[in-house]
């Protein structure tokens, strides 16, 4: 199993570096354009939407986990169950990196006294203060990435649709996050408004959804790997 994990790692390092690099560029961009002082520009949006962007990036990184990487590993004599567990390992690794990155980016505005603290703390508040929501979202994104990759392998068209759907979901999520953080009071408004129950339970609902996606895709992944025929 170690071999399978080392195999995955050779591709993962580059991906992780790219993710961190992207975050660094966004952060530096914020500082250069005066965001900590309260400026509202592209970098503001990016910084705030970083959780979504991370999830999106992880979604793409997971594409080949169940397709070309799987094919290659098995063709070199890797056992299927070893590959399955290596995938788990890599997926957790990616999520852990994204999570740590996110924590760092959440802490930064407070630590460095950025203006408009409410907006930045909203990102934390959206998950109801529960730290583990974001990693779960990452795992779900990765699971969807795997599945999309598999769909893509069967048919470019269907795969294209899968990516399109994922983009929509993520864009919607981004917009939602940005809107709700821009109009600071919106979230409070919703929580106390007429459909308070609905909005209040949104984090919980998303949680359950993410968990369901995760479990479903794990089962599907296991079955796929078990019955996979190497080309």
């Amino acid at each position: 199993m170690l071999r399978a994990f080392r195999f995955q790692l050779q591709f993962a390092w580059v991906n992780v570096a790219a993710l961190l690099g992207f975050a660094a560029v966004v952060t530096v961009g914020c500082y250069l354009t005066g965001v900590p002082a309260g400026a509202d520009n592209l970098f503001t949006t990016y910084y705030g939407a970083m959780p979504i962007m991370s999830a999106y990036i992880l979604f793409f990184y997971s594409f080949t986990l169940c397709t070309s990487s799987l094919n290659l590993a098995l063709s070199l004599g890797c056992r299927r169950r070893d590959y399955f567990w290596a995938v788990q390992g890599i997926v957790v690794f990616y999520a852990a990196v994204a999570w740590l990155l996110q924590l760092a980016m959440l802490v930064l505005p407070a630590a460095d006294s950025w203006a408009d603290q409410d907006r930045w703390s909203f990102l934390m508040g959206f998950s109801g203060g529960r730290l583990w929501v974001f990693p779960l979202v990452c795992l779900a994104a990765e699971a969807m990435g795997c599945l999309s990759g598999l769909v893509m392998a069967r048919s470019r068209v269907a795969g294209g649709f899968a990516i399109f759907a994922a983009i929509l979901v993520l864009m919607a999520g981004t917009v939602l996050l940005v809107v709700l953080s821009d109009y600071g009071g919106t979230w409070d408004f919703l929580l106390h408004g007429s459909h308070a129950g609905l909005w209040g339970s949104l984090p919980a609902v998303l949680l359950v959804l993410a968990a369901a996606v995760l479990i479903g895709s794990e089962l599907y992944l296991w079955r796929t790997i078990r019955t996979y025929v190497v080309r």
Partner: protein
């Protein structure tokens, strides 16, 4: 002792309604170079995939040194199945870099010989930075060969290693293969379409036809059972009565028949009057057995 013996019993595999392998038995003894020959679609790659647990089977058993092959790391560590590379994979370009492919092979094959791999990389003049989809057909074959040889696996299988190579490189491949074999004595199974050239390299030949093993015997013993008998149609028919005739071709009144004879009856055949009896090479034998008369 079944050490190093690869044994398949009762293998069956179908894709949808198409039965690719039917109740197939095969035993591979260690320390020999086997040639696996068969027509396109005979099921060679499927068979090799099943023998190496890279393909699933519907029925049957595959064991190596007495242990089941499926999901068995101890067994998989001894096996290398070097497949033909494909420029497109999963409805997209195969953008794997040669370097990554080799590095991955080094991770998985316990006996990987990096020095050997480097020497071959140099000899084949392969650029490790190139992606598989950027390689020529010949270069893809060379990568297949490199992986197989450098794996130093006890049982090494090469699927169509010579496809895409020009004749000079093919000769070089046979040389490399024989050199490696002379040095290590490991078991090789080479599947190929280029039969006659490779015939002198194979100690034993396996013929796969329409999902069944037709033959699994030493090359020269197999070839020696076959002859061409040619002459006047009547003379040939007379001589061939009581002998298994595989194919006949008549041009005018001249007939050439490909026959299969027991060693005991060979002398009688060769002494026959009015006909010419000549030997068949492996390619001739293959076509006679697997041609199914479709050249008409």
């Amino acid at each position: 002792m079944s050490a190093g013996v690869l044994k398949a019993e009762g293998l069956s595999k179908s894709y949808g309604s198409k039965q690719v392998l039917q109740n197939l038995d095969l035993t591979i003894q260690p320390g020999k170079i086997y040639g696996l020959i068969g027509r396109n679609g005979a099921g060679k790659t499927t068979l090799l995939g099943i023998l190496t647990a890279q393909n699933t089977k519907d029925k049957g058993e595959v064991t190596y040194s007495g242990q089941d092959v499926w999901e068995n790391q101890a067994v998989l560590d001894h096996i290398c199945f070097s497949r033909e590379l494909q420029p497109t994979l999963f409805s997209g370009q195969n953008s794997l870099k040669v370097r990554h492919y080799l590095h991955s092979a080094a991770i998985f094959y316990p006996n990987w010989d990096q020095a050997y791999a480097d020497r071959l990389l140099e000899e084949f003049q392969l650029d490790p930075k190139k992606k598989v989809c950027q390689l020529s057909k010949g270069q893809m074959s060379m990568v297949t060969i490199l992986i197989a040889l450098a794996s130093r696996a006890e049982l090494t299988i090469l699927d169509e290693p010579a496809a895409g190579l020009d004749v000079v490189m093919r000769e070089r491949f046979y040389q490399l293969l024989l050199d490696d074999f002379a040095q290590t004595g490991r078991t090789f199974i080479v599947s190929t379409h280029i039969i006659e050239e490779a015939a002198s390299v194979f100690e034993q030949v396996i013929i796969l036809d329409r999902g069944r093993i037709l033959e699994n015997s030493p090359t020269d013993e197999l070839i020696d059972q076959f002859r061409y008998v040619s002459g006047a149609e009547t003379a040939v028919d007379r001589v061939c009565a009581g002998v298994e005739v595989l194919s006949r071709r008549t041009v005018g009144r001249h007939t050439t028949a490909a026959v299969r004879v027991d060693p005991g009856k060979l002398a009688a055949l060769e002494g026959a009057e009015d006909v010419d009896v000549s030997p068949m090479n492996l390619q001739n034998v293959f076509v006679a057995l697997c041609g199914h008369g479709d050249e008409g």
